[in-house]
């Protein structure tokens, strides 16, 4: 059975939100790693095709590596061991400006742990994106009280993205035939060229907006909020309960973390909260 088949689009949005906040509320590598593995398991059992799995894998690996790379360079905790120097601090100008740029051994591990935060949100986001139709997510967002005007704009955007992509390809092909090559000549030239690429696409959009507005207004749009939302399937009560518990857990973790931060920074201390401080330090 496909794991995500149990989730309704609304539950999927809630899952993304929970994952997003979970990713930032813990510092415990085990909790983070555990949740990441849970997400990966959900992804692998969701019945996503192999091409999408490769896309996900590439995205996760690149994100992990990118974070490890940056954190190995900027790791600012002790102890730290220099593996090699990219810029020596004695190098004229750059060395003095940067104070040296070294690759730190401890930064690799630290970067990996922090990259799991991105891994969680990325995996969850792609999981929902690969297993749900965009329009279903939008309907779920409307059910979650997304302002109607915003949902209308998003619907228009969703409807026209394929058309815009096709138009962009056509314009870029035409530009290429005229010798366009982005990134060829400095910073300004590609932007100037981009402007010429954008112009026909934007002109079409303006014309399209005029026609569309005539069309929607002739259907009484804007006078009364009348739109059809198909009846949603009954949601799985167990998933709802699990999401509720998970949400509650994350709110609790967030509150504990906030108290711990205030304690650590000497802003607020209550002897009665020592157990919470200890909990935050050891487990969260």
């Amino acid at each position: 059975m496909k794991s995500m088949a149990l989730f309704s689009p609304r539950q999927k949005i809630v899952l993304i939100l929970i994952s997003a906040f979970y990713a930032i509320s813990t510092d415990n590598p085990h909790l983070m790693g555990g949740y990441f593995i849970f997400m990966v398991a959900l992804f692998l059992t969701a019945g996503v095709d192999s091409r999408k799995k490769r896309v996900w894998l590439a995205a996760v690996v690149l994100t992990l590596w990118g974070t490890i790379f940056s954190q190995s360079l900027f790791y600012a905790k002790m102890p730290r061991t220099i593996l090699f120097s990219l810029i020596n601090k004695d190098t004229p100008f750059v060395g003095a400006f940067t104070g040296g740029l070294n690759f730190y051994k401890e930064g690799i591990e630290y970067g990996f742990i922090q990259a799991m935060r991105f891994g969680i949100t990325l995996t969850c986001g792609l999981l929902v994106c690969f297993t749900t139709e965009s329009k279903d997510i939008l309907r779920a967002a409307i059910r979650l009280k997304l302002p109607y005007s915003l949902s209308f704009m998003v619907s228009i955007g969703l409807r026209f993205i394929p058309l815009i992509v096709a138009e962009t390809k056509t314009v870029v092909s035409a530009q290429r035939m005229r010798g366009f090559s982005p990134m060829r000549s400095g910073l300004i030239k590609p932007i100037k060229t981009a402007r010429t690429v954008l112009l026909p696409i934007l002109v079409n959009s303006i014309r399209r907006s005029s026609m569309l507005s005539l069309s929607v207004e002739s259907r009484h749009f804007g006078r009364k909020q009348a739109f059809y939302l198909p009846r949603e399937k009954k949601e799985n009560i167990f998933i709802n309960t699990a999401l509720f518990c998970l949400g509650l857990l994350i709110i609790t973790m967030g509150i504990i973390k906030a108290f711990y931060f205030l304690y650590l920074s000497s802003f607020f201390y209550l002897p009665e909260l020592r157990i919470i401080y200890s909990l935050a330090e050891k487990y969260i």
Binding site: G66, F74, A76, P79, S149, M153, S155, L198
Partner: protein
């Protein structure tokens, strides 16, 4: 080095008033001081059998006349003078003759003594005599001798509290074995060499007890080590150099009478703390003053937490602005969106779709690749999509629809497209997008781009259908550049706060200036041009 610092210390010592040394002998015209061991000041201590100690004997003149002086020091059995040879009459007696020529002239000698191992434990008297101008001045000082084992057994470390409060109790308000430093390694403020601390000082309390029958002066040495190298951390070593000591660490003395316990505070002034956050080792060593080696050592881990207020305030500020943005959008919904026509909604939706197709998707793909290749410097390339094309579209849209609420709609629509199509919903984006919308709406208001009088009037009082003047264009570019620089700064800081990432101060500046200000400043005039060209199409 040792000799030089000893001499400096000695001279400073001799410059102190007699009040600092109540045991110093004072004749009418001369101040005589006998310190055993040297450096102990007014304290007293037991001497360990088999140990070497330095004693200081000095005479300072208070009279403006030349005087020949003779000194005799008679040592008790068990104490033997070793050096300098010039003053040793025999091992049990020290004699010296010298001349003090004028007021404040000082004569002093450091005499090395040896405590013989077979000496009986107990109190001993050392008598000394000063003869000058036919007068004789006599005095006796006491010392105690005990075996080193006895001294060790009688001293107990009762408590070593890190951090401690001002009363010397463990500071329960703070985490044990933890220092909290603020901006000690600030990514931003370090660029200006500004360092502050969360507390005036970090206090360490050491409680010791002397259960023996002799008074004892102990030396306490507190050192912080690098966990990896085992070497004392640099700033402490520097601190120590300034004080003229050779051992890197915080040092103090404690005097304990028989059967007394006392708390000593070690204080590290916050302005002196210059260490990076992380894990260290701290070591407390206690030994008898002037004797070699410590007999009590305690080693513990030390954690240094950095309270980076820049990051924390950025996070708080962004959350507040985002909340204001969301609440404002809900409360003033009709004022913001009510005036928009269906054509304008559609146009914003289409612009959001273009932004999503030409900014979000390429940025997502390119960012991952360049982030892997260039690491943190990927913004130099990805900024072209995420910043330049985005602002090109945004500014042209504003020129087309110069109204409040347009930016808000555009940014929210783009965010929702990303959320719906790519599942890009993170805690950061939930904070970031509303804040960005609010800040850019504010920038739009300040730049005056949607004001009616933005285009100059002609002589007949009609709005000129000409291009926006360069000065106004530059003003808009500057306002949006500054706003985006601020947003870039906040963005990096909240990333550091929520994702616990590190970035160097220079990197933040480079990112803010290039990706934040420069890219935006360059592209805003282009966006205005583009918008003006599109306006012709819209009018047609």
């Amino acid at each position: 080095m040792i000799k030089r610092t000893s001499i400096i210390f000695l001279v400073l010592f001799l410059c102190l008033s007699t009040k600092a040394f109540p045991d110093a002998g004072i004749s009418d015209d001369y101040l005589i001081r006998f310190e055993l061991p040297f450096g102990i000041g007014s304290n007293q201590t037991v001497l360990g059998k088999g140990s070497y100690v330095n004693a200081l004997f000095s005479v300072e003149s208070f009279v403006h006349k030349k005087e020949d002086i003779k000194v005799d020091i008679i040592l008790p059995e068990g104490l033997k003078a070793i050096a300098p040879q010039e003053v040793i009459a025999d091992s049990g007696e020290i004699q010296a003759e010298f001349t003090l020529r004028t007021e404040n002239d000082i004569w002093y000698r450091l005499v090395q003594l040896y405590v013989q191992p077979d000496t009986l434990e107990g109190k001993y008297d050392i008598s000394y005599q000063l003869t000058f101008g036919g007068k004789v001045y006599k005095k006796t000082v006491s010392c105690w001798i005990a075996s080193q084992d006895y001294i060790k057994e009688s001293i107990h470390l009762l408590r070593f509290s890190v951090p401690a409060d001002k009363e010397g109790n463990p500071d329960l308000k703070r985490q044990e074995n933890t220092f909290v430093i603020k901006e000690a390694n600030s990514r931003l403020l370090n660029s200006f060499n500004i360092k502050k601390s969360a507390h005036d000082a970090e206090l360490i309390a050491v409680e010791l007890e002397n259960t023996g029958k002799f008074p004892v002066t102990l030396s306490l040495d507190y050192v912080i080590y690098d966990k990896n190298t085992g070497r004392p951390i640099e700033w402490l070593a520097n601190l120590r150099d300034e004080q003229g000591f050779d051992v890197p660490g915080i040092y103090t003395q404690i005097f304990l009478k028989p059967n007394q316990k006392d708390v000593t505070m070690l204080r590290i002034a916050s302005q002196d703390i210059s260490m990076m956050q992380g894990d260290y080792k701290q070591k407390l060593s206690i030994g008898v003053f002037a004797a070699e080696g410590a007999f009590i050592t305690e080693e513990r881990p030390l954690r240094v937490e950095e309270l980076n207020t820049t990051i924390a305030l950025s996070a708080i500020l962004s959350v507040v602005i985002s909340l204001l943005g969301i609440v404002g959008m809900l409360v003033f919904r009709s004022a913001l969106f009510g005036g928009l026509t269906s054509r304008e909604y559609i146009l914003i939706g289409l612009y959001a779709a273009i932004a999503f197709s030409l900014v979000s998707i390429p940025t997502t793909i390119i960012y991952n690749i360049f982030h892997a290749l260039l690491g943190p410097f990927s913004f130099l390339v990805t900024g072209i999509f995420s910043e330049m094309i985005f602002y090109l579209l945004l500014i042209s849209l504003i020129v087309l629809l110069p109204r409040r609420g347009v930016i808000l709609c555009f940014i929210f629509a783009k965010f929702l497209l990303g959320a719906v199509i790519l599942g890009k919903i993170t805690a950061l984006s939930i904070i970031w997008y509303p804040m960005r919308a609010v800040m850019l709406e504010a920038a739009l208001f300040i730049s005056g781009l949607y004001e009616k009088d933005f285009l100059p009037l002609d002589v007949s009082g009609h709005r000129k259908k000409t291009r926006i003047p360069k000065s106004k264009m530059l003003w808009v570019a500057f306002v949006f550049g500054i706003t985006d620089a601020f947003l870039a700064f906040i963005s990096l800081n909240i990333t550091m706060f929520f994702y616990r990432l590190f970035y160097a101060g220079w990197y933040i500046w480079a990112y803010v200036l290039i990706s934040g200000f420069l890219y935006t400043f360059i592209v805003v005039p282009m966006g205005i041009h583009l918008g003006q060209r599109l306006k012709k199409v819209a009018v047609d």
